[in-house]
């Protein structure tokens, strides 16, 4: 086994910088593609990963001595495939012989047609990694390992799990795929909508994991938001007819554009209202807005497009006071059709409060509180407290902040609430 950290260009190396740079570049472009095609040819996930790894390691030496080939991707694919063939030839089993035939007969540029038209192997891989018969943790880990090329150690760090535990999780998932007969394919039309929802869900979970973890101080945690966006870009490119894939990419970009302004110098959470909007990433906002427009033109709305539209309302407001809250309230009503959750309803209440005044919002919040479905969710009392504060009902506000403080899960959130609590004079 080669050291993947070397392949990913994390360590200083005496090799010529050009080869190193070309390998690093090729890694982000080609890793998932090569793994995906080798899995299709061999049906063997471990073999596919290891041979791809070997090909990148070989590239480091070879490209340094012979120069970078004209088509690095083709060079890597051929090298990885030859490795796979070598290894299959050396093993004696019947299954290996069959796999060898499959590798030999596989076309260099895979372009076989699936039921959804021309199918990229990476799309197969994505759907297989996100199969509902795997646990959610396994889906996330497999996606990061096989498609994004993160090492087991990196994935472990990202989810605060020891490397050994993560390795076991990945092995178990791969065994299940093989032994339970999870097909390696883009699902047929009748399964496609629900399975696509599953893939989008995994990517968004990945994004949120990185987004909320940005409050942490562990610099070793890989940038999951960047990986999620990269995979989202890939998925949107591979499924051009699926506006929700484009919608998710737009949503992630619009949210990520705000990341630099989300925490202040002391690492404290800054509310959307108080963020320095000049620190928002305009390039990401523009890309997100353009993607959203393209998605909406297809006139097949879905939860990610609606959430992206909400994020767009914020992104387009130069000042917090410019925000079109009436539009946001309408969008939350729309979102409720797709995601009938009390959290969505709470967000709608906030938008209504901003559009029509705190009184109107408080009515909705109190209905939700009476409903009893959000009793453990700190944002319910926190929202209620904010509305009461705006209405000048300080004592009631303080009681609600206190309640929220007891439920808030992270330090920055608790600090924020504690500050508010002091403001209302408790």
């Amino acid at each position: 086994m080669t050291d993947p950290e070397v392949v990913r260009g994390r360590r200083s190396h005496a090799r010529p910088a050009a080869a190193q740079a070309a390998v690093t570049e090729a890694f982000s472009q080609e890793w998932g593609k090569i793994v995906a095609s080798l899995i299709r040819m061999t049906g063997n996930w471990d073999l596919a990963e290891e041979c791809t790894q070997d090909a990148f390691a070989a590239a480091l030496t070879k490209w340094a001595s012979d120069g970078v080939p004209d088509r690095p991707g083709a060079w890597l694919t051929t090298t990885a495939r030859n490795r796979a063939l070598d290894r299959l030839r050396r093993s004696k089993t019947e299954a290996a012989k069959l796999q060898e035939v499959a590798v030999l007969s596989a076309p260099g540029e895979p372009a076989d047609r699936g039921e959804s038209g021309v199918t990229d192997d990476r799309l197969r891989l994505m759907f297989t990694c996100c199969h509902p018969a795997l646990t959610l943790e396994a889906r996330v880990a497999l996606t990061l390992r096989t498609l994004a090329g993160l090492t087991t150690g990196e994935i472990g760090r990202a989810f605060l799990v020891p490397e050994g535990t993560m390795a076991k999780r990945l092995t178990r998932a791969k065994h299940k795929i093989r032994d339970a007969g999870i097909p390696y394919r883009v699902p047929p039309a009748h399964l496609l909508p629900e399975r696509t929802t599953g893939v989008l869900g995994v990517l968004y979970l990945l994004f949120n994991e990185g987004y909320s973890a940005s409050a942490g101080d562990d610099l070793l945690r890989p940038d999951l938001t960047a990986e999620a966006i990269r995979l989202g870009r890939l998925l949107a490119g591979l499924m051009p007819d699926e506006p929700e894939a484009t919608g998710l990419l737009s949503l992630m970009l619009l949210q990520d554009a705000r990341s630099a302004a989300r925490l202040d110098a002391g690492g404290e959470l800054v509310s959307l209202e108080d963020q320095d909007r000049t620190r928002w990433d305009q390039a990401k906002i523009e890309e997100g807005l353009a993607l959203l427009e393209a998605a909406l033109r297809r006139q097949r709305a879905g939860p990610y497009q609606v959430q992206a539209a909400i994020a767009a309302c914020h992104a387009e407001a130069r000042l917090a006071s410019d925000t079109d809250w009436a539009q946001i309230a309408l969008l939350y009503r729309e979102l409720r059709r797709f995601v009938p959750s009390p959290v969505v309803e709470l967000n709608r209440a906030v938008a209504v409060a901003m559009a029509d005044g705190p009184e109107a919002g408080l009515v909705l919040v109190d209905e939700l509180a009476a409903d009893g479905k959000l009793t453990a969710y700190y944002l319910l009392p926190a929202t209620r407290a904010d509305l009461l504060r705006r209405l000048g009902r300080q004592a009631e506000a303080a009681a609600s902040y206190q309640q929220a403080l007891e439920l808030a899960p992270t330090e920055p959130e608790r600090n924020y609430l504690a500050r508010r609590l002091t403001e209302v004079g408790a």
Binding site: H131, A133, D179, A180, G181, I182, P183, P187, L191
Partner: protein
């Protein structure tokens, strides 16, 4: 691939036990027809007698321990099983989802059969 579908549920629920459809045929008959039409091979299968008829057997070396009742005392019991042959897990999941036990609130565990060497 070959899978065993293990039907699990509360056996006191009448819809989960043996019953007939409004057309007077056994409750599993429409399922069997649908599976046949899809090319899912029904290798074998049956509903089971209630868990009260179960006997649990252990071999403790010099002694065979026999006990009345199923291996686990739970509210849900094994109601029956089917062994099917189909292309992949997606097809097996579909077969399970259409089974009368699943349609009537029970659970179907899908287990690949260990391939014979």
């Amino acid at each position: 691939m070959r899978y065993m579908l293990l039907m699990v549920g509360d056996e006191t629920e009448p819809e989960l036990g043996p019953h007939t459809t409004p057309d007077g045929e056994p409750c599993w008959m429409p399922w069997a027809r649908e599976m046949q039409a899809r090319g899912v091979l029904l290798v074998e299968g049956s509903q089971l007698q209630p868990a009260s008829t179960a006997t649990t057997v252990r071999n403790a070396g010099d002694e065979v321990l026999v006990a009345d009742g199923p291996f686990a005392e739970t509210k849900e019991q094994i109601l029956g099983y089917d062994v099917i042959e189909c292309t992949d897990l997606d097809e097996a999941i579909y077969a399970a989802s259409r089974h009368p036990v699943a349609l009537n609130g029970g659970v179907v565990e899908v287990r690949p059969v260990l391939a014979s060497v």
